[in-house]
Symmetry: C2
Subunit: 516 residues, 2 copies
């Protein structure tokens, strides 16, 4: 075991992991080497269609073998049918020992559990949400799953740390030569930013579509030059699970209060001025924060530069109202966003690399002024856990949390002071997702805690008379309500690795005794 | 010397050339190895601007050294100011022995001659048009220039055969973080397809703009993730030289006749049906061909798929009339095209890689039904020369000639039977640009010659009663008018290499005695 710069104990070697580099600060690692290039190919000019008829033909054509790594995107979210169907077809063809490299998994993917049990899937490098996360916590794999942020995953693929043999890309529309988009079709999902990096880096790329259109599909999000084969299926997804209708701001008073505090703090920071850039998640308190920021921007007649992230109807309204010039969208969160990205020239699809890769020429999160993020747990060093639950179960992915936290000038965490008698703030989080040095403030319904590292912000918040507390004060408030907590008892079995966006290891997840 | 598969004598080693691989047929070479990746970088999240003030700061920041390779695009054509200014700045800073890697050079670049003479520029890998071509023919360099097609250049960069240390990218609009586009600004040039590959492959990328806009410039053609530095200058170009007004169809009866023959042949081929795809150059006979094809399509109510290439007002009209769904544009040829690409969602910018690289997953030329191309000389084996003039001077680049000839199902060459008492057709062309096996027909004002390899086309043309001649008959017609030609006397000094699009050498250019 070695101890990284924030005191987390990391094994010196991890099975299935190239080289363990302990986390050494959010901005300290310098990458070495070249961007990973896939093998050069020759395109047969007489072969004007890449269509194959069956999954087994596809597997043979791409040279799929036991032990390979296969990737998928999660733009179809809980409506996705492609991962389950592809893995079922793989199982039917007798493949085993495959590493799944999804950008995320959802409840709908619980069907994969039987393929985990039968050895078709031998590990997962990617977010393991919900039922699959529970399965992982029960110790279903012989090696740990590796969790990466959206930017970190792009980095890892481009650095050759995360090698994908075959990317299967669900396509709401595609032509027979592989040009694809998520912007139209019965299974439209909007942006396909996470899949763009896979299309660029995977050794073989297969487009899976339920909406074959005449050549050429243009403009395309993923190009024919990147694609090896196309397969047509009945349905890539269930529209009801792909996107929700409109994302609505909460009515919950506690969440509204947190949103209000967040907006007050952003205002106090002085960032709300022409050129302001902003990102929030789609959670209730975050959107409440956005709604109060909107009011402030309208009041000040601020002309912002861009909003980014998963785009919601809320940001679309703000853009239409002239509050932002541009929306950078890596995944479209609701029906309005799906519609807008196909129509609005200022609604821009971006890849995961463009969004958040720390090892390119400069990603979008570097230009973010303020971001509002959530947490399942924070600690007195401002470290944030979004991966594990109070019982130690590894149920959530990283998303863009550590990317935006690191990139934005002002990173605000909003979360209720306690949930089900478990306080938000602990002495030390069970799992570190985003390091405290990248977090400026933690906001609960009881007030604002500012990281002592950001002296200027403390000063500004006090000048404005905001409800500022120390982390210890806020922790006490939660502890008083919830009472003494028993800590989760852990085994030595490492079930997950939390890779920081720069490729170092910020933490590992140990199996709780209660899940053995 | 070795002899390649079309009988051209090629040296076994060429100075400055990695490995000589003789041409072995248009579709035979299988690439090996990986796509070349540049070095991984770290973006400093606190550095929100990549702007530098002077060229000398830029040269220092990118680590420019004597002997390096620097690239430029030619989207500003004869209005370009960036190449001359950058090279002048390099000369002023005392740099020497630089290899210039332009996508093409124009008359305006004759200013470079003094930097060739003073040793600032020691060779050119790229098209050497006009005055620079004449200089090269006079033997100004110690090693041959290397000419590549648009697709071949993209291939060479992506295969790591053509390494660029610093790409200087002229940008009609850019933001301080490097996002750029050619679609707006006083120096707007439309598509910047040739520059896109440089932005992806060069070790360092510098954006040079005369139109700095607020961050973010989006949608962008080249992204911030690819760019290292930005410099603002007074003027990147002279609009009058960048694009012409409207490209007009010729009134010249000979050219109209050739265009008519070309359209007749395309019609006879049976390709004019729904899904038809088409490309022509902007030359008079080519556009005349397009105008007759347009009439045929209207008559048959054909719904074509795409037009590609350098896009002209002519194709824009056809697209608006519903004759093509999509225009794929690698460079916009006239003002209408520049305007259209910024407004029309079916007018799609494509990279040189997407356009024509034979070693990716499939380029656009592979999907072309018919292309009409020009020639300075053809021979009885249907080989085409577009590079050297009758006196042996190397005055023209390859452009997309060999790419589209190879990709299209029907490749038609149109050229007058003779020019200034020099016949079009010779026993053997002085320089092979596009091999005869990729050419289906040669059309002059006196009729149509079909390559005997395409038996079906001969059959169809005869059925339609077209004016078909053998290559020998057509050659005789020209010879009778022009009289006996004296062949150009050549030295052994190789001044140029004609690289085939797949990286093999199809021919070399020897210095004519008259230019020594």
């Amino acid at each position: 075991m070695i101890t990284n710069s924030i005191g987390r104990k990391i094994p010196t070697t991890i099975q299935g992991y190239k080289e363990v580099i302990p986390y050494e600060g959010a901005f300290n690692r310098n990458p070495v080497g070249l961007i990973h290039g896939r093998a050069l190919r020759k395109s047969d000019r007489l072969k004007r269609s890449k269509l194959l008829n069956t999954y087994s033909e596809v597997f043979e054509a791409v040279g799929l073998k036991d032990g390979m790594a296969i990737s998928f995107h999660h733009h179809l979210r809980n409506g996705d049918k492609v991962i389950n169907e592809t893995v079922a077809a793989l199982a039917e063809c007798g493949y085993k020992d495959l590493t799944l490299v999804p950008t995320a998994l959802f409840g709908v993917h619980k069907e994969l559990i039987k393929y985990i049990e039968s050895g078709v899937i031998s590990c997962i490098y990617g977010s393991v949400n919900g039922p699959i996360g529970r399965k992982v916590t029960e110790g279903c794999f012989n090696r740990p799953v590796i969790l990466r942020s959206h930017g970190g995953r792009a980095r890892a693929m481009m650095a050759g740390d995360l090698k994908v043999d075959v990317a299967f890309i669900a396509a709401p529309a595609a032509d027979c030569y592989g040009n694809m988009t998520g912007k139209m079709g019965k299974s439209a999902c909007g942006a396909v930013g996470y899949a763009m990096t896979d299309a660029d880096c995977a050794e073989k790329v297969v487009v899976v579509t339920d909406n074959l259109v005449p050549y050429p599909l243009a403009p395309a999000s993923i190009l024919q030059t990147q694609v090896d084969y196309v397969i047509e299926v009945d349905k890539i997804g269930d529209p009801s699970g792909i996107v929700s209708g409109t994302t609505k701001v909460t009515n919950d008073p506690a969440r509204l209060k947190m949103g209000h505090f967040a907006a007050q703090l952003i205002n106090a920071s002085g960032l709300i001025k022409d050129g302001f850039s902003f990102q929030t998640g789609a959670g209730g308190a975050s959107l409440a924060g956005a709604s109060f920021v909107k009011e402030l921007m309208e009041e000040k007649q601020t002309k912002g530069s861009f909003a980014s992230g998963g785009i919601t109807s809320y940001f679309i309204e703000m853009q239409k109202a002239g509050l932002f010039r541009t929306m950078y969208d890596v995944q479209s969160f609701d029906l309005h966003a799906v519609k807008s990205i196909g129509e609005n020239v200022n609604h821009i699809e971006m890849s995961a690399d463009m969004y958040a890769n720390p090892h390119n020429g400069g990603c979008v999160v570097n230009q973010l002024d303020a971001v509002i993020l959530g947490a399942t747990e924070v600690d007195i060093d401002f470290n944030v856990n979004v991966n594990t639950e109070a019982d130690g179960a590894l149920l959530h992915g990283i998303g863009g949390h550590m990317d935006t936290a690191a990139g934005a000038q002002l990173t605000i965490i909003v979360a209720p002071l306690f949930r089900g008698r478990v306080p938000l703030i602990s002495e030390q989080v069970l799992t570190v997702t985003s390091p405290g040095e990248t977090v400026d403030a933690i906001i609960t319904e009881r007030g604002i805690v500012i990281n002592p590292r950001n002296e200027e912000l403390i000063e500004r918040a006090k000048e404005q008379g905001l409800n500022v507390k120390s982390i210890e004060e806020m922790k006490d408030l939660g502890d008083k309500i919830c009472g003494k907590q028993t800590s989760v008892e852990l085994t030595d079995n490492i079930i997950g690795v939390i890779e920081y966006r720069d490729g170092t290891i910020i933490d590992v997840v140990r199996q709780p005794v209660s899940f053995v």
